[in-house]
């Protein structure tokens, strides 16, 4: 059972705005109460013990505080942005290497042919679309996606754990991603 109330995307976005614009500590506290226990869960699923998982969650939330000004609601939802911070924290903590990322100011960045749509889906709609797509997937594929995302498992490890051949794991993950893409494409993410 979740102990924290589940705020809607609008509340998350509003807290994030107050954090970015006014360094509002109450807004930060609200975001912390919601996200920190989830980042901790994410870190534990990746193999951290309770104590280090909490430390990583705290450090990730400090990153949220420090980088709040760089959050761009036109680029990603709050949860997606926090996920990318937690993910990079995990890479940092577990792999001790860098995650090369494109430079958004790169003169070589090729813009999309059609301008980004202004009427982007609201966070809740995107999340709903993703949940709808996930609900349609066979349980096994959902489990594999979660193993890949949450448990830091290589495809070979997923194969080992599910007892399926590596090729089957890869093709089922591809199927799952194709299905997600179709649904997100239809809802014009």
């Amino acid at each position: 059972m979740t102990q924290t109330a589940n705020p809607d995307a609008q509340s998350l976005a509003e807290w994030m705005r107050r954090l970015a614009e006014d360094q509002d500590r109450d807004a930060f506290a609200a975001l912390f109460e919601y996200f920190a226990p989830r980042i901790k869960a994410y870190m534990m699923r990746s193999g951290s013990d309770d104590v280090s998982a909490e430390e990583f969650a705290q450090e990730a939330m400090l990153m949220v505080w420090r980088r709040a000004a760089s959050f761009d609601p036109a680029q990603a939802s709050v949860a997606t942005w926090v996920f990318t911070i937690a993910r990079n924290k995990r890479i940092d903590a577990f792999r001790r290497n860098n995650r090369p990322e494109l430079d958004p100011d790169d003169p070589l960045l090729l813009p999309a042919a059609e301008p980004m749509q202004d009427d982007k889906l609201e966070e809740d709609q995107t999340a709903d679309a993703i949940r709808t797509a996930m609900a349609d997937l066979p349980a096994e594929q959902v489990r594999m996606l979660k193993m890949a995302f949450y448990e830091d498992k290589a495809h070979s490890e997923i194969a080992e754990e599910t007892g399926l051949p590596l090729g089957t794991v890869k093709s089922r993950l591809r199927l799952a991603m194709g299905k997600l893409r179709t649904i997100l494409g239809e809802t014009e993410l």
């Binding site: 998982a53 990603a76 942005w81 996920f83 990318t84 790169d106 070589l108 890869k170």
Partner: protein
Amino acid sequence: MTAALTSGGAMRTVEPSHHLSDDMLLDYAAGSLDEATSLIVATHLTYCPSCRKRAAELDALGGTLLRDVAPVSLSKGSLESVLARLDQPAEPAPVHAALPANDNPLVPAVLRRYLGGDLDAVTWKNLGMGVQTSEIAMNVEGKRAFLLRVPAGKAVPHHTHDGNEFVLILRGAYNDEIGRFARGDLAISDGSIKHKPVAEPGEDCICLVVVDAPIRLTGPIGAILNLFVKV
């Protein structure tokens, strides 16, 4: 002699036609892709709006999964201890050597960071037949990243692979049994493919290559080149 690099035409206006695989995108989004292959991904993403969209969708999946995960209670006083740290100075920013200002770069910034500058500052090692390489220093187990430069109009020796090979075109273009590969295009081959890329005339073909096993060159020239391409 290899042709001098010119920045003219460095801007790509057409999207690549050979893209990242689902496997690569998923592992990149999940954060489990090794650094060398991630460099290929980030370089391709710079050139490819379609793959950026796919990557953004997977990040959104990550965000949704984060919202839906069963939370784990924090220890008492966790929030307070973080609140107390908010005013402490931030840890030093990641050690990105500042890139020299460059309005007309030859390759994407993410790659220039690894090269320590632009393509024209790279030190090349001759492999013979005009083919050159330059290692990219990276501490990644089981992977090797390097630049490969094939003179315009020349062929890369026949070779097969023990493992996967990722080739991202940075300059020029080449053709092989699979098709035409130009700037931003990614060629993925596994052990089953024996191919012979030929650089198009006009401009040297320069690629970013990541291999996860030694390349085995076939034929008499290959035997000599093999001496140089050991992992």
